[in-house]
C-alpha cells in the first residue's frame, strides 16, 4: 500500500508545487489526518528544501485576525504564493467544528496566488491543531513564499504558535483592558510584531502608546542595535486595508533580521522541536489511554485511589510498558 501511496504523493507534490490547489489540499489532508499515510508523506518530504517564511497570527477572539490574515495574503507584494492555515475550535462534546474563517476572507476566493485551508483544532487547547506541525512542514516545501498560520482566539498563555512560526504577529484591539493585561500576558514576551486593529473605532492610539512603552528594547551602541529586534507596534483597520502595507513591511523586515543574525536557524530548529514533541506526545498519549483503560490499568488506578500504592510505584511499571508499546507501534508504521 505504501509504495503506491508514495508514488501518488510524489505526483501530488509535483503538482502542488506548480500551484495546483487540489493537489495541495489532498496532501494537507494526509498531513492533518496523521496515521501511517502521514509517515509515508514524511518520507516524500525528506530532503526537500523548506523555503517558506512561516508567520503566526494570534490574539484574542474577535480581534480581527481572519480579516487581517485574508487582507495580508491578498495584498502580499510580488509574485510569490501565500498559504493560509486558519485554526478554529473543535467542539469538545461532539468532535465536530464550524470553521468560519472563510467568511472574513472573501477576497482570497479566486486569487490564484493564495491557498487557504480551514483547520479544526481537534482537541488541542494551545491555539493550534493536531497535525498542524506536519501541515506547516508540508507547505514549507511547496514553493510558497509565505505561510500564515492563524490560531484560535487565545488568552494569555497559549504561546505554542511562537515555536511553530518564524515571525509571530499578535493582534490587539482598543477596549481590551489596560497595559497591565499586555504585560501579564506570556504572549507579549514572545511576540515579534504587534498590530492594533480597529483603529477606526477610537482609543487605538492609547493602546499603541502603552504597547510601545512595554515593548521597547534597551539598546546601547549602534552596533548592538543591528542585533536587536525593535518590536514594532502598527495600527491598522483591516476591513479598510488601512495600514496593512506597514505590517507586510515589518514581517519582511523581521525575516531579513532573522537571516542577518542567524536567528532564522534557531526558529527553524524550534519548529522541528515542536513537531517532534507533538509526535511523541501523540504516540505516548495513545498508548497511555489504551493502558489506563485496560484491566491492568484499572486495577492500578483502583489501588492508587484507596492508597495501597503510590504514583511513583505505579509509574515505574507503566512507563516501561508504554515504551514497549510505542516501540511496536513505530515498527508497525515504518515504511
Amino acid at each position: 500500500m505504501s509504495a503506491s501511496d508514495r508514488e501518488l504523493y510524489e505526483r501530488l507534490h509535483e503538482k502542488a508545487r506548480g500551484g495546483y490547489a487540489e493537489a495541495t489540499a489532498r496532501l494537507l489532508s494526509v498531513a492533518l489526518d496523521g496515521g501511517v499515510k502521514s509517515h509515508v508523506l514524511g518520507e516524500v518530504l525528506r530532503g526537500r528544501p523548506r523555503t517558506a517564511h512561516i508567520v503566526g497570527v494570534t490574539g484574542p477572539p474577535g480581534a480581527g485576525k481572519s480579516t487581517l490574515v485574508g487582507a495580508l495574503a491578498h495584498g502580499w507584494p510580488g509574485e510569490g504564493r501565500v498559504a493560509i492555515l486558519a485554526v478554529d475550535p473543535t467542539s469538545p462534546i461532539s468532535g465536530g467544528s464550524i470553521l468560519g474563517d472563510r467568511v472574513r476572507m472573501k477576497q482570497v476566493s479566486g486569487d490564484n496566488r493564495v491557498y487557504m485551508r480551514s483547520v479544526a483544532s481537534n482537541g488541542r487547547t494551545d491555539g493550534l491543531s493536531l497535525g498542524i506541525e506536519r501541515a506547516t512542514d508540508l507547505l514549507s516545501t511547496l514553493d510558497f513564499e509565505t505561510v500564515i498560520i492563524e490560531t484560535v482566539g487565545v488568552g494569555q498563555v497559549e504561546i505554542e504558535i511562537t515555536s511553530l512560526a518564524d515571525t509571530t504577529v499578535a493582534v490587539f484591539t482598543p477596549g481590551q483592558g489596560d497595559v497591565v493585561q499586555a504585560v501579564k500576558s506570556g504572549l507579549n514576551e514572545v511576540t515579534d510584531i504587534f498590530v492594533v486593529n480597529k483603529m477606526d473605532q477610537g482609543g487605538g492610539d492609547t493602546v499603541i502608546r502603552d504597547l510601545r512603552r512595554v515593548t521597547r528594547a534597551a539598546v546601547g551602541s549602534a552596533e548592538e542595535a543591528e542585533h536587536v529586534w525593535q518590536r514594532p507596534v502598527v495600527g491598522v483597520t483591516a476591513t479598510e486595508t488601512a495600514g496593512l502595507d506597514k505590517v507586510v513591511d515589518e514581517i519582511i523586515g523581521h525575516r531579513e533580521y532573522l537571516e542577518r543574525t542567524g536567528e532564522a536557524v534557531v526558529r527553524q530548529t524550534n519548529r522541528g522541536r515542536l513537531q517532534l514533541e507533538s509526535a511523541l506526545e501523540e504516540y505516548f498519549r495513545e498508548a497511555m489511554q489504551d493502558y489506563l483503560l485496560s484491566e491492568n490499568g484499572t486495577t492500578l488506578a483502583h489501588q492508587l485511589s484507596i492508597g495501597k500504592l503510590t504514583v511513583i510505584e505505579i509509574a515505574e511499571e507503566i512507563v516501561a510498558e508504554l515504551i514497549r508499546q510505542v516501540e511496536s507501534r513505530l515498527l508497525a508504521s515504518g515504511s
Binding site: 501530488l12 490547489a21 487540489e22 489540499a25 461532539s94 465536530g96 468560519g100 479566486g110 479544526a120
Partner: protein, 144 residues
C-alpha cells in the same frame, strides 16, 4: 449519528448569490457540527465558483447550499458542472424551503446527491450528509 466515517465529513455550507436567508444555513451547520462533522462555513453571497473554489482548497466531501430564494434554479447547473471537473468527487446537497417536489426530482436527475425539504428532521439531514460524504470518498479516484 448514523454511521461512523473517519475522518468525519467535511462540508462547505453557504447560500447562493443574493439569497439573504442565512439562519437555516447556520442552523444546519450547528446540527452537523453536533453530529461530529467539520463544517466550513461560507456565509452569503456565493456564486458556484466560490463554492467550488472553497471545496477544492478545503478538500471537502460535500458542497451544501441552503436555498430560500430562486437562485438555485439558475446556478445549480453551473455548480454541478464545475464540481464534476475536479479530480476528486464532491457531492452536492441542496436544502431549503423553496425547492418544490418537481424541482427536487429534476435536481437529483441532473446530479445533485440529495435534496432536503424544509421539514427534514435533524436525523435525516445528518444521514443524508454522511451518505453523501461516503459516496464522494468511494468515487474519488486516487489519481495524481
Amino acid at each position: 449519528m448514523t454511521a461512523t466515517l473517519t475522518p468525519p465529513p467535511r462540508i462547505v455550507i453557504g447560500t447562493y448569490a443574493l439569497d439573504q436567508h442565512e439562519v437555516a444555513a447556520l442552523m444546519v451547520a450547528r446540527v452537523l457540527r453536533d453530529a461530529g462533522a467539520d463544517v466550513i462555513y461560507l456565509g452569503r453571497f456565493n456564486m458556484p465558483e466560490h463554492f467550488v473554489d472553497a471545496a477544492i482548497q478545503e478538500d471537502a466531501d460535500i458542497i451544501g447550499v441552503s436555498c430560500h430564494s430562486w437562485e438555485y434554479l439558475e446556478l445549480t447547473d453551473k455548480l454541478l458542472e464545475l464540481s464534476s471537473q475536479l479530480d476528486r468527487r464532491v457531492s452536492v446537497v441542496l436544502g431549503g424551503s423553496v425547492i418544490t417536489t418537481s424541482d427536487a426530482e429534476g435536481l437529483l436527475e441532473r446530479g445533485v446527491t440529495a435534496v432536503l425539504g424544509p421539514g427534514a428532521p435533524k436525523e435525516e439531514v445528518v444521514a443524508a450528509v454522511w451518505k453523501a460524504a461516503e459516496l464522494a470518498r468511494e468515487q474519488s479516484i486516487e489519481n495524481g
